[in-house]
């Protein structure tokens, strides 16, 4: 177990290093001013402004955000990532609960499935950037039991809006994938549907729920970052991406600090789902064969 973990870590480091090597290799052989294929400008520029050196990006992490002073930008960005991570985690939690809830409804009543599923699918065709300004303006307008809807909750709602989809679809597939023989056995026991759900359908759905949660985790991070960029909410990595991008004219490496932060938080949320998977699988009975 421990050796496997060590091997995985080493592989990860090697993979990151390899990407860095490819980046630097391209900088050596790629055209500085880019190029066109059949008139399409698709060959990226290898200039230092477009593609800074990897070691410059890393060195930039140790310098302060505004070079005049303060703590290294890595620390600042870690703070932004932590803020965004919490919003994404709430979004994933809400999205997961809503997704599983909808899936149970749809698995219980075919008519519910027919009524809800088209809306679930259609919901994902609404562009997030069109929704974001509307949803953010809920703050100050909605009050739930004396709890005034804050701006960050809108961001979570948008993240949940993206992340519930794979969970709903995946869980539904899982809940309905139970072998007919097992269902018939439960029927002979005459147990209520609720018991079938808890004892048979949910355990059978776990292999479907976990991958859908992994998808949802990355979508939740994307949702939070896009919502932050779109609405300019302060404190998170999305805002940092936007403002560092603006600074790129004179400080091309800065934006990559935010990109690293976003990548790290995506990995963190994904990792927490993997952890959940390990815990769930530990108590999972092996198939009797």
């Amino acid at each position: 177990m421990l050796r496997r973990a060590a091997r995985k870590t080493i592989l990860f480091v090697v993979a990151v290093f390899a990407v860095g090597c490819v980046w630097e290799l391209y900088k050596v052989i790629g055209p500085v001013d880019g190029g066109s294929v059949f008139g399409w400008k698709i060959i990226p520029k290898a200039s230092d402004r477009a593609m800074p050196h990897t070691w410059d990006m890393i060195a930039r992490l140790l310098e302060p955000e505004n070079r005049s002073g303060g703590s290294p930008i890595a620390v600042t960005v870690a703070g932004y990532s932590w803020y965004t991570l919490r919003l994404a985690a709430v979004g994933l939690l809400v999205g997961g609960i809503v997704g599983i809830g909808l899936a149970v409804l749809m698995a219980r009543w075919r008519i519910a499935s027919r009524a809800i599923l088209p809306w679930v699918i259609m919901s994902q065709t609404v562009p997030l950037i069109a929704l974001a300004p509307q949803v953010v303006s809920w703050s100050g307008k909605i009050e739930l039991f004396g709890w005034e809807w804050p701006r960050w909750a809108s961001v979570c709602a948008l993240a949940a809006f993206l992340s519930f989809f794979p969970v709903a679809v995946g869980t539904l597939k899982g809940l309905t994938s139970v072998p007919a023989a097992s269902l018939e056995l439960m029927e002979t026991y005459a147990v209520p549907w609720r018991v079938t759900l808890m004892k048979l359908r949910f355990p059978a759905a776990v292999p479907f729920i976990i991958p859908s949660l992994k998808l949802a985790a990355t979508l939740s991070v994307v949702g939070v970052i896009v919502a932050e960029i779109s609405t300019g909410i302060r404190g998170g990595i999305g805002r940092a991406v936007l403002s560092y991008q603006q600074a790129s004219t004179g400080d091309a490496e800065k934006i990559y600090s935010a990109v690293f932060g976003a990548a790290a938080l995506g990995l963190a949320l994904f990792g927490s789902v993997v952890l959940l998977e390990v815990i769930v699988n530990r108590n999972r009975p092996r198939e009797a064969t």
């Binding site: 001013d33 520029k45 200039s47 230092d48 402004r49 477009a50 505004n66 070079r67 005049s68 009524a115 809306w119 259609m122 919901s123 609404v126 562009p127 950037i129 069109a130 929704l131 974001a132 300004p133 509307q134 303006s137 100050g140 307008k141 960029i229 779109s230 609405t231 300019g232 909410i233 302060r234 805002r239 936007l242 403002s243 560092y244 991008q245 603006q246 600074a247 790129s248 004219t249 004179g250 400080d251 800065k254």
Partner: protein, 401 residues
């Protein structure tokens, strides 16, 4: 500053699908509620709020929507908070930063904020589309739009745009370019190559475009904060030619304070708040004229994107757009307004559309609020004209730090 052309359509689509979703799920709803009784006349309104000089028990809560993140472009409002001018006028002001998809005048028309900052042509386009908003104070008296190019391109006036790659932002920020081209008799479709440009200056420095659109107070500073790879030093103004659209009679009015037209007409308390808000904002801008460094520091305290020298530069350049205000700060000059409206109506862009299809009605702007605000703001002997104003000179550091 960033407005998506398609946003309205997308928002409409989103709204429709939400509406449909809502309708689809309300089978279980109880029968429609009985129609509300015909509304009785609202209770007689309390007498209009007393003016500011009376003692202030509970300040009125007011929100202001900015076009972008905190930066010296909005220093006057941050200074009015910091210096207590809003509090002196019995206001509790929340400044709401913008974002990529936040359209200030839309936020205002939706009732999300009480006041919003917006460029005149874009706000008028929203007004033409049905947003009931009114320009109550034209803070920026001049346009700050430039076309910046390297010296060796030889672009010293709009006539030189012919045959060049001209960068522009789109989203309604490009009409001064089209107006300048039209004035020179150039055909935007045939005589120049118009290139979409990001809100940074990399395309100019990388040589992808010959001349880049830039604001005096922001993007122009960005190129002066970048290192010239040939010399290892920062670029200097000597490296560039700058075309200032204001010099060619095609400048359009930019940052103005907009208010909700319906509330202004019917709600005496809101109108009173508007007067006090504009008055205190004027004091903020006058303070920033007289204490440039102090105001740049106030903005730095709010956490802007770019650093100290960039904010000081921006503060200084923004002051130049406001001061001197020959008619008095915030006054909408009819000639400048008409020039903006004319360009908005008569200059088609590449797609052949103009910002406005018809001239806005007379209610689109008012100087009534500004004139009342002068009486409040000028009471302390503050100079609201800035006739003796002279800008300082600012040295930019690398990356604006």
């Amino acid at each position: 500053m960033r407005i998506s052309k398609h946003r309205g359509v997308l928002a409409g689509l989103a709204a429709v699908s939400l509406l449909v979703a809502a309708c689809g799920s309300d089978d279980a709803e109880p029968a429609a509620e009985p129609a509300a009784e015909p509304a009785a006349e609202p209770a007689a309104e309390p007498a209009a709020e007393p003016a500011a000089e009376e003692t202030c028990t509970t300040p009125d809560e007011v929100s202001l929507q900015l076009q972008w993140f905190a930066q010296a472009q909005f220093a006057g409002y941050y200074a009015a908070v910091d210096q207590g001018y809003y509090a002196d006028h019995c206001l509790d002001v929340t400044i709401v930063e913008g974002g990529l998809d936040i359209v200030p005048q839309t936020q205002l028309a939706n009732g999300d904020v009480d006041f919003a900052l917006a460029w005149v042509p874009k706000a008028l386009a929203s007004r033409e589309a049905g947003a009931d908003i009114v320009n109550i104070a034209q803070i920026f008296q001049r346009s700050g739009t430039l076309q910046v190019s390297f010296k060796d391109k030889g672009i010293t006036s709009p006539a030189d745009f012919a045959g060049k790659k001209i960068g522009n932002w789109g989203f309604g920020n490009e009409y001064e370019i089209f107006a300048a081209l039209g004035a020179e008799g150039l055909d935007p479709a045939a005589d120049v190559e118009l290139v979409g440009q990001n809100f940074d200056m990399a395309a100019l420095l990388e040589g992808e475009i010959d001349a880049a659109e830039a604001m005096t107070y922001n993007e122009y500073a960005m190129v002066l904060e970048a290192v010239n790879p040939d010399t290892g030093e920062l670029y200097t103004p000597d490296d560039f030619n700058v075309v200032n659209y204001e010099d060619y009679g095609v400048g359009m009015l930019q940052d103005a304070i907009w208010a909700d037209g319906a509330r202004l007409a019917s709600d005496a308390a809101y109108k009173d708040i508007a007067v006090r808000f504009v008055a205190a904002s004027m004091l903020g801008w006058a303070h920033c004229r007289d204490d440039v460094q102090g105001c740049a520091d106030i903005v730095l305290g709010v956490g802007p994107t770019l650093g100290a020298s960039h904010q000081l530069w921006q503060m200084n350049e923004v002051n130049k757009l406001i001061w001197p205000s020959t008619n008095g700060v915030g006054y909408t000059d009819e000639a400048a307004w008409n020039q903006t409206v004319e360009i908005s109506q008569q200059t088609p862009n590449l797609e052949g559309t103009t910002v406005l299809t018809a001239a806005p009605d007379a209610d689109a702007y008012t100087n009534e609020i500004v004139e009342a605000a002068w009486a409040l703001a000028g009471a302390g002997g503050v100079d609201l004209f800035g006739e003796g104003y002279s800008p300082m000179s600012v040295t930019l550091n690398e990356g604006g730090n």
